[in-house]
């Protein structure tokens, strides 16, 4: 609405939360809302204001603590859970995301002692080698949206993780018995790993020939079965909420998958305080690449949903379309403990979920136990075969043990393959 009240242009000032931006027309000034300056992107050094010693985030205290003098300050953050803001796949974001995080090694000036530090590739945090002060720096993000906005903080104390790993090492009959006694996993590194979360609604329409089984008796009175095929079609909508995808290619995705899920209801707004004294990695799998892989998984879910909708085992000439809508993404950091241990000159990796404490990793296999078990699985069938075959040849009565032996042998082979694969996976990275 226009007012005829005469404005006092001399006195007029834009509100404080607005700043002047470029104007394309002479004689018109334009002010836009000032971008939120949360200070999370600026490099931050963690030193104790009391004694000057370095401070770090302490899981038990739930805040930044000085281990020297006991100074403690709580983290300024809010739990947003799964309501955490999600972003659209705008062309601009995708273009920026293609440039990656900025993987080059970079120098960081320590404002505590003045030293110049070389920060590792993709690392978001560093500790000064000279004054031991902890630093958090996420400034090299290609856009504001592509720096971590949310994270799940570490909830598991290192002691708890230690005991859970010892418990995990002792599980499983086909691992070396002396594993728990000989192995010492004490150098756990708490690290925030990058993850993408994706949401989408998939509207699918399917069409297929669905078979209906009919039983009838022929002229000779024998029961026969016939399948009648009919074209059917349907619509299915699949909502995918918070599909989690690892943003780092150097961490074993298999083991990462085994320590999931993370409880995203505990997502907090990003604060560098959570990273103080901990390691953190930026993504090296770009958003478009991650989305392509996630989309492949999502469309398979849609396909499964279509098959469920068909609800029939006889299906042929199946075709479908999957229209993606309301796609969105988030870039988050999730807490993981990483460790490795040596056993008989081989290195094995262990991971623990920093939120739930779930442990997974590589474990050596006592292969003699596996071969013995496999031999035990194959033996009944083999022995029955050995008994049945001469009986059949000599007196013609060995058919039953021969058939039984064959069945047991097939079952034994299947079980042996499953066991072998499980053992291989146990050692795999």
């Amino acid at each position: 609405m226009m007012s005829t009240h005469r404005p006092n242009l001399v006195d007029w000032q834009a509100p404080e939360d607005f700043m002047q931006v470029d104007s394309a027309v002479d004689g018109i000034t334009v002010f836009a809302a000032r971008p939120e300056e949360d200070g999370t992107s600026a490099p931050k050094t963690y030193n104790c204001p009391n004694c000057g010693a370095s401070t770090r985030f302490d899981v038990a205290a739930g805040g930044v603590v000085c281990e020297h003098c006991g100074f403690s300050v709580s983290v300024d953050s809010a739990q947003v859970g799964r309501r955490a803001e999600e972003f659209e796949f705008t062309l601009e974001t995708l273009r920026r995301a293609e440039h990656g995080w900025g993987m080059e090694r970079r120098e960081l000036h320590c404002d505590s002692c003045g030293a110049e530090l070389v920060v590792a590739e993709g690392a978001l945090t560093a500790t000064c080698a000279f004054c031991a002060s902890n630093k958090v720096n996420i400034r090299t993000a290609p856009s504001d949206k592509l720096r971590p906005r949310f994270l799940v903080p570490f909830k598991m104390k290192i002691d708890t993780v230690h005991s859970r790993v010892r418990e995990w090492l002792g599980k499983g009959w086909y691992h070396p018995g002396e594993l728990t006694a000989k192995v010492l996993v004490d150098r756990f590194v708490g690290i925030y790993l990058p993850f993408w979360t994706f949401d989408a609604r998939i509207h699918s329409g399917w069409r297929a020939q669905v078979g209906q089984t009919h039983t009838y008796r022929d002229r000779d009175g024998n029961r026969r079965t016939r399948i009648e095929w009919h074209w059917r079609s349907g619509q299915v909508t699949v909502d995918v909420d918070d599909y989690v995808f690892s943003g780092n290619s150097h961490i074993s995705s298999r083991i990462l998958g085994q320590i999931q899920p993370f409880n995203l209801h505990e997502l907090e707004t990003y604060s560098p305080d959570y990273l103080a004294g901990w390691h953190a990695l930026a993504y090296d799998i770009n958003l478009p690449d991650a989305w392509e892989v996630a989309k492949t998984e999502m469309r398979e879910r849609a396909k499964d949903a279509c098959y469920q909708d068909i609800n029939n085992s006889h299906v042929r000439n199946f075709s479908m379309n999957a229209d993606f809508a309301d796609e969105s993404w988030r870039y988050i950091l999730l807490p993981v403990y990483l460790a490795s241990y040596k056993f008989e000159d081989r290195v094995f990796q262990v991971m623990a979920n920093g939120q739930t404490g779930k442990v997974a990793g590589q474990k050596p296999v006592a292969w003699w136990k596996i071969w013995l078990a496999i031999a035990g699985m194959l033996a009944p069938g083999f022995i029955l075969g050995l008994i049945g075959l001469p009986l059949l040849l000599l007196s013609g009565v060995g058919v039953i043990p021969l058939v039984l032996g064959f069945i047991l042998l097939v079952i034994g082979i299947v079980l042996a393959v499953v066991l072998y694969r499980k053992a291989m996976e146990s050692e795999a990275a």
Partner: protein, 371 residues
């Protein structure tokens, strides 16, 4: 308080040499519309309503000539084709509703709009819409293979913007006639980009309509138009593609009023009762506006003729029936003629009803002719 300047009006009795052409003020006693016309045109039918003749009378108008005019792009030579298109399709029209007569009565007219210049200063705020695209995809599964198709979707992001304005605006056009909107509805919009500086030679053969809306009364409309211009400029300044919830505290100063003249042809035809019906042609685009009425009188006449023919055929059929007493086959002819008379009789309804139905549909009164 907005500063306004509405001075400059005066009562003029003769305009010899005023505006650079020897025009005289003249008015219509029927519609009250005042025009400036050459002395030789005093006494012509009013080029607004077509009902009365123009008589010399004083008029109130500004001393300085109009600033701009949109020249006639449609010459008189184009009018014949335009009228043919206008008349075509009207069956049973009155004798006066004829291309030649419309052409003969066509008068070039310029009708006015006010042009206002203003200094604008103030503050504004709005929500600016910025276009952006998001990427989506459609996946197709057939024969154990997936195929992907990339989709781009246009969306608008709305953000708050505010700021100050200090601008000068020239030639913001606002209505100068009460019937402005009605006239625009009939002949369509003009493209002001083709407006040229006022030249007396371009108006000497035309009748010039005198504004009947004074500047004071048209200022609110002008201000709305100025506000719209400012809003659009603010949108451009902010780089937005859309704007909503625009509000401003604006001060308009240094107002300067001039006139813009728009080209129009006026003609008319009379109906059965001799009532004239005006027809307007946009002198720039050729769009025609006016009621295209059919003649009910002609309809009755043709209905009567058709009924008479039906009656005559019926009489002949009766004659055939009478003759069948002597010549039996004549009865067959009699039956055929009786049926024919019935059909013709029913057909007589068509010319009687058609004008009534056609005239009911002529509410819009606008026909666009492209040449």
């Amino acid at each position: 308080m907005t500063h306004q300047d509405f001075d400059g009006m005066q009562v003029v009795e003769t305009v010899e040499g005023l505006w650079g052409v020897p025009l005289q003020p003249a008015g219509c006693a029927q519609c009250g519309q005042a025009h400036l016309v050459a002395a030789s045109r005093i006494g012509i039918i009013c080029p607004h309503c077509g009902r009365e003749k123009l008589v010399s009378q004083p008029a109130q108008l500004r001393e300085e000539p109009p600033e701009k005019l949109v020249p006639f792009l449609k010459e008189r030579s184009h009018l014949s084709a335009i009228f043919s298109g206008f008349v075509k399709g009207v069956w049973l029209r009155s004798d006066d509703f004829d291309v030649d007569k419309l052409l003969e009565r066509a008068v070039p007219v310029f009708w006015p709009m006010w042009l206002v210049d203003s200094e604008v200063a103030g503050t504004w705020e709005a929500e600016m819409g910025f276009d952006y695209q998001v990427k989506s995809s459609q996946e197709f599964y057939s024969g154990a293979n997936w195929q992907s198709r990339e989709m781009l979707e246009d969306r608008v992001r709305w953000e708050a913007r505010l700021g100050g304005v200090k601008r000068h605006h020239d030639n913001i056009a606002t209505p100068a006639l009460e019937g402005h909107q009605a006239l625009l509805k009939l002949v369509g919009r003009y493209d002001f980009k083709h407006a040229v500086d006022y030249d007396p030679l371009l108006v000497e053969d035309a009748a010039l309509r005198i504004p009947d809306l004074q500047m004071e009364s048209t200022w609110p409309l002008a201000r709305v138009r100025l506000d719209q211009v400012v809003a659009d400029e603010c949108r451009q300044a902010a780089g937005g593609q859309h704007i909503r919830n625009f509000s401003a505290r604006l001060d308009y100063d240094g107002l300067n009023w001039t006139q813009l003249l728009l080209p129009l042809y006026f003609t008319y035809y009379t109906d059965d009762d001799g009532v004239p019906h005006p027809v307007y042609i946009n002198g720039q685009t050729g769009a025609v506006g006016g009621l295209r009425l059919a003649s009910q009188g002609k309809g009755w006449k043709w209905a009567g003729i058709t009924a008479a023919v039906a009656f005559a055929v019926f009489l002949i059929s009766l004659l055939c029936f009478a003759l069948s007493a002597l010549l039996p086959p004549a009865a067959v002819l009699g039956v055929g003629l009786a049926v024919l008379s019935l059909i013709i009789g029913v057909g007589a309804i068509v010319p009687a009803v058609w004008p009534w139905q056609w005239n009911r549909k002529q509410q819009d009164g606008k026909v666009i002719i492209s040449l």
